[in-house]
Symmetry: C2
């Protein structure tokens, strides 16, 4: 039976009883609209923790676009049913006023790794992520936290922040879960039309092709230009970015001389798609 | 026997053994150069915690003035001897590279309460305080933390930050400890000349006189103008501020209609003195 908790004071008491018994708490921070990608994080948490909290909070502070915030899918009953099947202990679903009460005035910001890519196209986004994740770590006092590699840059920002602020939590990155055709699972995929949905897997396919070419010695710029051309011809656009970057620092790379990642953000119809893969 | 620890990894292990036994950890964050003001915090921590950590770290991030940083008094051997007498369990004295290793990129900032007074005269100071205190709470995993009311605005900034980030620590504010003549104890007092030292207690005396006058109905502006005039005549200056403010939010107050505080920052010779009292 998954217990739904909405107040951080009640959560704190729950966690305190677990901690007194020496239990390791795992947390999976989400914005709800759960899919198999999230559930893979939940299963990892279940395996690596004694008690599992899934948080669902559509965090206004990390949306730079009010339309995206308004349209973000929400279905708590469905989410709860999914979490029940995985034996999650607590669904923590606080309201906005619980997370950001009157007088709230604190911001956590990470420079460097948060600045390019998503940071450049979504001003304030990673401040919102870093702040709410710090808060969720405080509220849940989790010893382990599970994040998807789908949001690769977010994972690196969270790792940096946790190291920098000495937060006593271990960050576990989990591989992107894909549909059979390769499309990375995302809560925003439900907003794709049938035609767009049919076209969407090409993003992953072209990223793979580019990564293979780069590994085979093709200059990254040429491989990525070819991918962009193919995707644009198939109806993707406008482009925010399609780049090879250092996997950890997200700094630009011309050659994959250190662990590298291809990262893309591009429109498809009304949806902004993101994806990334290792080179 | 007070154990000196310099690495956060070693501290984490130490704290983990305490936590497994259900012990409550208290922390007193300091910049060293300990005096009776600090020791009153240590004694409060000793009473209210099972284990006590005193941290000594002269935090470069909170100094906006490199000269003040260079001249800040340091005497770890003397500090350690004092802490031994009070039965402190751990002196945590990390180096700068332990607290801010290469690649460090995260900042905690508090708006509102941190902006006027010290915030206006020491740009970046409270970002440095909020960031290092968040780090020290992560490193020590303390359940209680003890701060002096001498740095009144700092205490309010830390309270705001802890509430906002849901850090699981209780903040305990402890009264300012004064010399017999009323001078608030401060590590910077050693930098006063004999003449300045003789003059210094007038700051507290004039604050008291102004508070009494305000409580008796004198308009705050008049009471503070009289105090400033008397202090300037005695050699205090230049003035950063001498104001009545809301005790919690530090917003300006004309009348003490809510808990109010008089706060002063003023030069005396080469030293910048701060003090504050309740109205």
């Amino acid at each position: 039976m998954t217990q739904v908790i909405r107040s951080s004071a009640e959560l704190r008491e729950k966690v305190a009883t677990w901690k007194r018994s020496g239990m390791l708490v795992g947390v999976v921070p989400t914005m709800g609209a759960l899919h198999d990608g999230h559930m893979s994080l939940v299963r990892a948490a279940r395996k690596q923790s004694d008690r599992v909290i899934v948080t669902i909070f559509v965090n206004p502070m990390q949306f730079n676009n009010s339309d995206d915030l308004a349209k973000y899918p929400r279905d708590e009953a469905h989410d709860l049913a999914l979490l029940e099947t995985e034996g999650v202990d607590v669904l923590f679903a606080p309201g906005v006023e619980e997370v950001y009460p009157a007088g709230f005035a604190t911001k956590v910001s990470v420079s460097g790794v948060s600045e390019p890519l998503e940071g450049a196209f979504r001003p304030g986004h990673f401040d919102g992520v870093a702040t709410v994740v710090t808060k969720l770590f405080g509220m849940t006092q989790a010893g382990r936290a599970f994040f998807g590699e789908k949001d690769w840059q977010q994972l690196q920002v969270v790792r940096r922040m946790v190291a920098d602020l000495n937060i006593p939590v271990r960050i576990i990155g989990c591989p992107t879960i894909r549909e059979e055709d390769g499309l990375a699972m995302s809560s925003r995929n439900v907003r794709l039309s049938a035609d767009e949905r049919a076209c969407a897997p090409l993003l992953h396919a072209e990223l793979q092709k580019a990564a293979e070419a780069i590994r085979a010695g093709t200059p990254a710029a040429a491989a990525l230009a070819a991918a962009q051309e193919a995707l644009s011809a198939a109806g993707f656009g406008p482009w925010d970015y399609l780049e090879m970057r250092s996997a950890e620092t997200l700094q630009p790379l011309d050659t994959p001389c250190e662990p590298a990642r291809l990262l893309a953000a591009v429109g498809l119809g009304a949806v902004r798609m993101i994806d990334n893969i290792a080179v």
